[in-house]
């Protein structure tokens, strides 16, 4: 069995890549996807620790995170569609008005 450090490192790498994506990309859809990647990185941690402690509580948390990601994707993409309809763009730096 792999020591847990490996999982933590994998999770960290994915998290950092996701964070970089969120910061550097202009396309809001890709930003949302990067956020999904971050959530996914967290899930690896939860499951790895759940394995160490020998129960499934961590996995239940991971499931909640997946549900949360689904909700986030639905609302986020809804916003993107509404925004695209009004402004015909999905670039983050062009979203400069709070109200349209």
């Amino acid at each position: 069995m792999m020591p847990v450090g490996h999982y933590l490192f994998l999770s960290l790498a994915l998290f950092i890549i996701g964070a970089i994506g969120v910061i550097t990309r202009r396309n809001v859809i890709v930003i949302l996807m990067a956020i999904e990647l971050i959530l996914n990185a967290v899930n690896i941690n939860l499951v790895a620790f759940s394995r160490i402690f020998g129960d499934v509580h961590g996995q239940v948390f991971a499931l909640f995170i997946i549900a949360d990601a689904a909700a986030e994707a639905a609302v986020g993409l809804g916003i993107i569609i509404a925004f695209f309809r009004n402004r015909e763009t999905v670039l983050a730096d062009e979203m400069d008005l709070l109200k349209w």
């Binding site: 550097t24 996807m33 990067a34 986030e72």
Partner: protein
């Protein structure tokens, strides 16, 4: 041995395709690489003997959420904005954030190694022949200890669904 091969394979695939996902210009390519990352993560879950989460990841994340993403990307045809480049200073911010996070975790590793109970961090070996009935344990915990959060999560999903429908609806 087999375990570590599986782990390194999936971890490598996950990190590589995550990196590609962030760097590809084309949003559809990003989505494809994200799907690959998610599938590789599912593989990691399986390697951790979390089989229910493995399939939940595939059905919900890949089969549900990512389909939604791909659908929206195809709906808002993005060919034009894709050619724009990113801001320059954001790269430095990103680098800084990445370094900060890496340092933080490096410190943690260093600190953990000095703890006396470092052995805690190696998981117990799995039973060799058969996987434990993971879904049943999972259900028991989910529907006893976490019943209230479960209900709240379902309400959250409902609210998200309604919100998405209202926002995406055509204003007439």
């Amino acid at each position: 041995m087999l375990d570590s091969i599986i782990f390194y394979f999936f971890a490598g695939v996950a990190i590589l395709s995550a990196a590609l996902m962030v760097t590809r210009r084309n949003a559809i390519h990003s989505a494809v690489f994200l799907i690959t990352t998610l599938l590789a993560t599912a593989g990691i879950f399986l390697q951790l003997r979390a089989e229910f989460l493995f399939i939940a990841q595939i059905i919900l994340y890949v089969g549900g959420i990512m389909v939604l993403f791909v659908f929206v990307i195809m709906l808002v045809r993005l060919d034009v904005p894709l050619n724009h480049i990113t801001f320059r200073f954001q790269k430095w911010v990103a680098l800084f954030v990445a370094m900060a996070l890496a340092c933080e975790v490096g410190v943690m590793f260093w600190y953990v190694r000095r703890l006396p109970s470092a052995g805690l961090l190696t998981p117990p070996a799995p039973s060799p022949d058969k996987l434990p009935p993971n879904s049943e344990q999972f259900a028991k915990v989910l529907f006893s200890n976490y019943l209230l959060p479960f209900e709240i999560a379902s309400v959250l999903l409902l609210v998200a669904m309604i919100g998405a429908v209202i926002m995406a609806k055509k204003r007439t």
